[in-house]
Assembly symmetry: C2
Homo-oligomer: 697 residues x 2
Amino acid sequence: MKCFFDPRGVALIGATAKPKKAGYRILKNLMVGYKGRVYPVNPSYKEIEGLTCYPSVLDVPAPVDLAIVFTPAPTVAQAVRDCGKRGIPGVIIQSAGFAECGDEGKALQEDLKRIGRETGVRLWGPNCMGLVDGVHKHVFSFVMERIWDRGFAAGNVSVIVQSGFLAAGFLIDLMSHESMGISKACSIGNKVDVDECDLLEYLIEDTDTAAIGLYLESIPNGRRFMDLCRASTKPIVVLKGGTTAAGAKAALSHTASLAGHGALVTGALAQVGVVEARDFYQMFDMCRTLAMFPDLPQEGRGRVALISGSGGAGIVASDLVQQAGLELAELSPATCETLKALYPEWMPVANPVDLYPAIERHGPKAYTEAFKAVCADPNVDAVLFHVIALGIFNERFSLLADVVRSSGKPAFCWLMGLREEVADMQKEAAEKGIPVFRELSRTVECMAALLKRTRAGALAAPDLSRHERIDLSGELDSVLRTASGTLDEHASKRILGACGVPVVEEALVFSGDDVVRAAKAFGFPVVMKGLQPEKVHKTELGLVRLSIASDREAVEQFEDLKRAMDGKGTVLVQQQIRGELELIVGLVRDQQFGPAVMLGFGGVMAEVLGEPVFAVAPLGDADAFCLIDRLKPHKLLEGFRGAAPVDREALAQILIRVGELGCVYPRVREVDINPLIVKQGRAVAVDATVILSDVGE
Amino acid sequence: MKCFFDPRGVALIGATAKPKKAGYRILKNLMVGYKGRVYPVNPSYKEIEGLTCYPSVLDVPAPVDLAIVFTPAPTVAQAVRDCGKRGIPGVIIQSAGFAECGDEGKALQEDLKRIGRETGVRLWGPNCMGLVDGVHKHVFSFVMERIWDRGFAAGNVSVIVQSGFLAAGFLIDLMSHESMGISKACSIGNKVDVDECDLLEYLIEDTDTAAIGLYLESIPNGRRFMDLCRASTKPIVVLKGGTTAAGAKAALSHTASLAGHGALVTGALAQVGVVEARDFYQMFDMCRTLAMFPDLPQEGRGRVALISGSGGAGIVASDLVQQAGLELAELSPATCETLKALYPEWMPVANPVDLYPAIERHGPKAYTEAFKAVCADPNVDAVLFHVIALGIFNERFSLLADVVRSSGKPAFCWLMGLREEVADMQKEAAEKGIPVFRELSRTVECMAALLKRTRAGALAAPDLSRHERIDLSGELDSVLRTASGTLDEHASKRILGACGVPVVEEALVFSGDDVVRAAKAFGFPVVMKGLQPEKVHKTELGLVRLSIASDREAVEQFEDLKRAMDGKGTVLVQQQIRGELELIVGLVRDQQFGPAVMLGFGGVMAEVLGEPVFAVAPLGDADAFCLIDRLKPHKLLEGFRGAAPVDREALAQILIRVGELGCVYPRVREVDINPLIVKQGRAVAVDATVILSDVGE
């Protein structure tokens, strides 16, 4: 990938001298900051802007590592072939008119793909804005030149944006408003070859990048994406478009790209420590925040101290901190002593810390002393302070910034006031590593992104060796390798049981005697079910009989079930389990992420008790526990209303085993354990279905 | 209140010539834009800044309607007395050192209150920033002069802010960033006399005000506040500080003001059509949005059309629109035809409308034609469009703005791009009545505030005459007027039944014969409960017996209950009702809002099924239905899993009656119907407690 980011020589195929054309704009942009040689290519010119123009890329002198192509779509294939012949390792295709433009364009893009494979040339694009590097001043893009009116705002945040138009819009916006510096901005376009994973891999190693933000509409190579995120020590923030039904529909209509299952993507990102954003500037804000605190200690617990000169600011900040799932720090006795000495006598010491009266008494000293004490407080994990810039605060702000910085605690500033002073403070704060925000709720959101990221921690990759890998014997193994379609309840549970999932005691019965024997073994009451091939909706078919309490009733129900099935099915007797909670555990096979484990609440309340949560398999212990923790309302798992708390270890094992089943046997398309009943804390699979791929799949 | 907003002559008590003092700043501010005469008052000067300075306010020539006081706290009382003597109707006290500063200050404030009452002078403050009027350029405030560096940004949004420091901070911020114009900004401080209600009443009638925003920490006069909001045709947005436990604690510690019950405040505001904000700039953004659409038709249904030149913007906007509870409009056939003609052939027509390819083909015409069609579409209630300002869009933006404006549909613009062009467009959009936002989620929030406000509609005041007012006969009436403490279950339900609340069939029993007779009347199974004075936790005491299925069992349980109560209580037999849903309905008496009705889910799931919702009594039909609609997850009320849907009319009647009980009988401190069981859609009170005030209360 180095050829894209640090090329020795760049050829521009489709250069032109017409000022309004993109081919001219790219040339001007190349000349703005790029230090290497630039070679315009166009048979119609001998020279453009003082540079020799070549009839073909084949005529361009060495070394050239990168070609940028901006010619009509049908001519691009030949240009790429020429690049291959010329030995140019990387090409950024900025022309549009490919897969985004109907069938003809799709065919052109398929051609490119083939040529790329044949020539070994790495292709970036087409239909993209290319690359802008604010640190090295590389503008390999047709983005408008006016973007540099205010110079390059270099920063340590890099971004990857699927939509070219948005990437351009944001770059122009951030640069011209001087709101944030950028390291590398990559617009990936149609991803004929180079995709978000290739770029992410590069940026994770890039010394100029401290945090990475991505706007993505699809993550086709979900597993590789996860592996990269997991391995990254740099914070990664993702805004995933199409997480709702409406958004997914829009994505499908826009790029025919599958937005995927929103909850599953959320689960996958959480699993690998990625922060999920929900809006664009929010993503940038989170990135610049996390770039300032790349490696905060793990033990942070989200205890926040608020410092303000206005009671109102402290009150609303308290509301937002609680709503964000953080807590207000309980100040230590030492901090309280310091504040008490600064406060007037009538004023109680508390968090939020209201410094106005103290400042009236002691001047700026009140600020610095209070900040020192609060920042040094072992009960405080982060500080949020409010500043109103009134034309007198600049030096004080410097003092505060130094106090905060030397304490090593993350501090967040909510800033309002006079335009010029606000701008100055924003600049100073950025230099001193204090994230500054203009809206209180955004301040708290970014603080939560940092503190919660810390708490989730960088999850270790699942260590399958720690678990006994599931190892099924002859018959079951053979079923899973060769059978197809929906397995019946009993067969499904035999497989799950063999994988280590606790299943209800049950037996197939073929006579009245069998029934009585089984019932005696399990103890009354028992449940009896009629199983028929491929028919999973037993309850709807009237084939489930509950609360059978005696031998006679059992035999009667057996006969009745046989009749109801016309002699075509088998009858299953099982222990009736009344638990305190019903869960659902499943396995789905996602197009982008592969096998994933689902956990949700079951029973009649399933539909109203929040959404199920997902994790991509295989699951390590940490993944499984994280999945359990993400199920809401979590109270239900904690021993609700006198029930025993759910045995987390045992439930985690079930989730891990179901995931492994999907990983080891690719023919397992779906698993549905519903219900998984929790009784005295222990979960048992009471009904389950395993669905295998269809014949020939 | 006119004396504060449009005074003929202003006296400044505490004027000074020392440039760093507030008394000088106020004087300079008075001279900036106020057209009337200004009279500095200070015995130490003959003249300040060219104005005659008077030794006392008594010496100031007529007419003077307003005095502004900025002298040390202990001297303010005398100044106010002098104002009374001088016949000045209004005084703004900006000095601090009163109730916010311990016991001594509290005493001084009490003095002020008394003097205000005695003299009839209206007192605004103390401890406040006063008043700034951006339209008339009145600055009756010690806010820094630099705020006017860029002139007055006049607008049609007025705000009332409890915290003076915040009010100043925001004014300075808004004015110096030129982000929004302001009509009147009022800082209310300690509210010794003039409070948010007085100001709100004035602003509702103020011709320069189109929308009103309030930041409040407490609403002590909740009922008057509600009446004013209900009567207002102008949109009102409230940011209430202290809605969470953490925030309420902070409020208590800051101003010793009771933040009140967050959910109850939310309910009260929803009842009277107030939009609730959760952050400061958000409040301003909602205000400027609603000021542009003061009287949108009622029939709007929240169907949004998205128009963008970027697929990504449309996708994320779709996600946010769905999350906000709005929906994507289904474009009408006519609109689809128009778009189809503009689109290239390969491109499907859908909402979000992606105009990029159409613009490439047809130029700006694509914009205007598409906008015309979408804005005229009867299926579209509002339009959200995305603009990237690239230095070429200005004229197009004007065209679009005109199209949108002439359609009468509310349109929202999400804007990014080049700084100068963004600023120009913001200005133009504000003039043309198009709200512009820089963050997509904020755009959607404000759109939702508008569309949902429309849908909730301006609720009519409850029309009690429509209902038969509860009219209890002798004994029950007398109990409610004279008894005290907790009434037992049976007495409580007799009262509720008499009010029109359906209650379970039940009877007090005193012998085995009674028991058998009652059970026969109700049908088995029955429930039997032991009632003891003041003991409400019957279940915990083992005094509730369920599922009694026979005469013998009934008599046995009767004897057992008598024994368990040591002969001290009575026994109640009631029909056992198994319903499909358990609700809780209650009455609470709030310190700020008085009697309020509570509705929540009951039973074992109460704690996990969201929060109860509140409405202030008395309730009209609209209030009751709105309360029911606000209960989440609402699915449970709609006929969940084959159950009958809850009879909304009947449930509304119960809520109304419980509220009336609280209104008619002030001694009713609390009502708790738990559970209110819903069986085949009809709600019946199964257990209930009425708590009256204690003796002497």
